[in-house]
Amino acid sequence: MITLAEPWTAAAQGRINRALLAALAHPGEVVDLGAAGGGRAALAALATLADAAVALCDLHRLLDPAERSLLGAGEAGAAEAPFVLADGARAPDAGLRLNAGTQLRPESGATLVLECAEVGAGALALQLSGPGNAAARGLRLDGLDPAWLALREEHAGFPCGLDLVLADRRRVACIPRTTCIRRND
């Protein structure tokens, strides 16, 4: 078999890209990426967003060498990487610093992809408000340590900050840096 499977095909990545754009445009909206990631929506998102032109920090070694090779993204430390992948169920290390961008280059702020047990269901309830949501939108999550939300707050300072992509097996929800988060649980 010479052809690649999803999510590595151009057609799949185009479809996932449109889904991610919709999720970013409406923070907290749960979007189903289907089976493209082989049971890991985070992999589908990264396959679409990252390539050899960017660097990735796989904080908890969630990607196997074959996936890392196909992504093509270079290695970088957490403080520099434009893309960071982590296990959302594990609390971030104390003192962890990510790249929030600068006033001159806020677009270099990191996209933090967190793997969760469930997106759209779970005990952790968030209220999201800000651009993209005319009214506050609720988002429930399972398997996300709240310390990641605290880390996001530590890095906030518009226009700088972190953009979150929360992913379970098939679904994703995005929380860009412009969104205000209030815990509702």
Binding site: M1, I2, L4, W8, D51, A66, S69, L70, G72
Partner: protein
Amino acid sequence: MDRIDLAADLAAVAAESPADLAALAHRLAAGLPVRHLGVPQEGLALLTMEDGVCGDRFHLGEAALAVAHVEVGGSAGGAAILGATTATAVAAAVCDAVAAGGLPGAEAVHALAARGRAARAERDRRRAQMRAATRVDFAELGESA
């Protein structure tokens, strides 16, 4: 055969008869495990040249390029072909891996590459003819002025 020569020969086959290259690659891949080491890509790449006087490198312009990197039966192979599609680059990479590893089917790859070598030789001959037609002898021009 030098591996760079083999790559150039397979690129010539890709330009002349990509269907033959694809057919051979699919036949080889049917009997061996194929793993992509990178996502095959096609796009524009800066074409770097070296001037013939000072040896300085410069960018001639952009060229359409397709690249592929695969592993076949434990042997790595790659291809970067101007003006090709990703499917053709993958086919060339599979053939390169099979030839490099001496895997079953390597003889068929070398036979196909020989066709590419003949095509390259013909192309080089035509280019030499075109260059010869533009030759100017400046000494003669000076004497006749």
